[in-house]
């Protein structure tokens, strides 16, 4: 769920912009300059993947993908999420332009977290990759839901009810996201394992 314009207080929106700007700068610095075009192309793939709606009973949900972006891109993940959300806002109005900072933090920080957890646990070689990937995805969606709840609650007590409902709506999303991500990781593990180990083209995770 993306926050639209005019929901969160302007002070919070501007503060989130500054924080997201800092994260983008970190993400840019951690990505090798010659890899930037590759990250951009990969981000386009994640962007179209988020257009896919998975049927859920009578309705359908679209994939959020913070977990998988984090696992594939490592440090570049925040950059990818920021640009993806910017383009999404410009093209579709999913998430307002004034709330872009808040939306980027809400998805970008979980992506970083999921990527970090995955790379630490996968290098230990304990759990199997698909299971681990699925759990990281659910964890990222859960974190995003918490951020969304906090941001909505920052608008005052009038918004507490909406915040609770929005967080509850993420439970089925987290389950589906975990399942699909598990299968994606299993597939990539079989077909092109270097994508999981090294990040995009081997350079993005430095």
């Amino acid at each position: 769920m993306h926050i639209a314009d005019g929901v969160i207080p302007t002070g919070v929106a501007v503060g989130c912009y500054l924080a997201a700007g800092g994260c983008v700068a970190v993400s840019l610095r951690k990505t090798a300059a010659e890899d930037l075009p590759k990250v951009a192309v990969m981000t386009s793939a994640f962007f179209v993947a988020s257009l896919i709606h998975v049927p859920l009973g009578p309705t359908s949900v679209h994939l959020l993908l913070p977990g998988i972006v984090g696992i594939f891109l490592g440090w570049s993940a925040f950059l990818a999420i920021f640009l993806g959300l910017l383009l999404q806002s410009l093209l579709f109005q999913f998430g307002g332009l004034t709330a872009l900072g808040a939306n980027a933090l809400m998805m970008g920080l979980p992506a970083w977290a999921a990527g970090a957890v995955y790379s630490v646990l996968a290098s230990k070689g304990g759990a199997r990759a698909p299971l681990l990937g699925g759990m990281c995805a659910a964890f990222a969606v859960f974190l995003a839901a918490v951020f969304l709840g906090l941001l909505l609650a920052s608008s005052g007590e009038d918004f507490f009810g909406v915040a609770k409902l929005a967080m509850a709506a993420h439970v089925p999303v987290a389950v589906i996201e975990a399942l699909v991500t598990g299968f994606v990781v299993a597939f990539v593990h079989r077909v092109k394992p270097e994508l999981l180990q090294a990040g995009v083209a081997g350079g993005a995770n430095r």
Binding site: G6, A40, A45, S155, E157, D158, F160, V188, K192
Partner: protein
């Protein structure tokens, strides 16, 4: 806090009247989708959600907004958008919406473009309309409505006003996006951002994405057609999730291979980390005047919101308290 008791009959009557609003919205949504699928040539198998709009230049091409220097346009309209989302009373929010619609008219952009943006927010903003009247805490000045025999559920009309205020502000900015993005070619807008000091690397990535999103969307559609003719129909079951997982995994693997080729092709053509700038922006007096006008408009809106306009509809200021 005042409590108004209503009978079952009245509650049902008002409930039906209230349902008319979402139903109208739904009808509009279906209408837009119908007109969309009529003018788009595409494979029937492809789901509607995959359609990615291009930010083409439309409208009266010699309008004031089309001729405005994009650097000034981006700055002024973004500043105004931030002012428009900062207001806390419904009348000033409506003024913002009026200004946005007026700008759309001056640019000569058909309203259906803006309507598509508004409809994209229906899910998120509809949640506010449904939830807020039932969950907003009652303030001393509020009147809550309670149905006779169902005392646990309190309907607070102030929640509706808050939802309406948010909807109006979000819609104003959504409408304003059209004159901002559809009066200059998208690459020029991005170069204007770069000229304004936004990181050149970010702008470049945005341009690459704006190209490859459409490439991958077609790739995805091709794969989807292949899956459909082999009999795949998405349902809510484990098999569907597995197929979706393989589908996305394949998409990512192909994309990764493509990134390599794209990068090599770029290097072959002399790419050294920067795209050449084709435009040279030059601000004229008209650009500065228009920018100043929008600045004053935004500041005026904030000032009148705090101290000016008598609040004609809804409760007074008090969002974000």
């Amino acid at each position: 806090m005042t409590v108004t008791m209503v009978s079952w009959k009245e509650a049902v009557m008002w409930g039906c009247a209230g349902l008319l609003i979402p139903l109208t919205g739904w009808a509009l949504f279906l209408l837009v989708r119908r007109s969309d699928s009529r003018d788009a040539e595409r494979a029937d198998e492809e789901p509607d959600e995959w359609r990615v709009p291009e930010l083409t230049v439309v409208g009266a091409s010699r309008s004031l907004l089309h001729r405005w220097d994009p650097r000034f346009k981006v700055c002024s309209l973004l500043f105004f958008a931030f002012c428009a989302v900062s207001v806390q009373r419904l009348p000033s929010a409506m003024m913002g919406l009026l200004i946005a619609v007026g700008t759309l008219g001056i640019a000569g952009i058909p309203f259906r473009f803006a309507l598509k943006r508004i409809l994209a927010m229906v899910g998120f903003l509809g949640m506010f309309f449904l939830v807020m009247p039932l969950t907003v805490p009652a303030r001393p000045s509020d009147t809550v409505i309670v149905v006779h025999g169902l005392e646990a559920i309190r309907f607070n009309p102030r929640g509706l006003w808050v939802a309406a205020l948010i909807w109006t502000k979000a819609t104003a900015v959504a409408v304003l996006m059209e004159p901002l993005l559809r009066t200059t070619p998208f690459p020029t807008t991005v170069r204007a951002l770069a000229a304004l000091g936004v990181s050149k690397k970010l702008c470049q990535m945005l341009l690459i994405m704006y190209r490859y999103v459409f490439v991958f969307r077609h790739e995805m559609a091709r794969m989807w057609v292949g899956m459909s003719v082999r009999g795949f129909r998405p349902r809510t079951n484990g098999e569907t999730f597995r197929v979706f997982g393989n589908f996305l995994g394949m998409l990512f693997v192909r994309s990764l291979e493509r990134t390599q080729r794209v990068h090599e092709a770029m290097v072959c053509r002399g790419y050294q980390g920067e795209f050449p700038m084709l435009e040279r922006f030059q601000g004229q007096r008209r650009d500065w005047l228009l920018g100043g006008f929008w600045f004053l408009l935004g500041v005026g809106m904030i000032l009148s919101d705090r101290w000016g306009v008598p609040h004609l509809v809804g409760p007074g200021p008090g969002l974000w308290r």
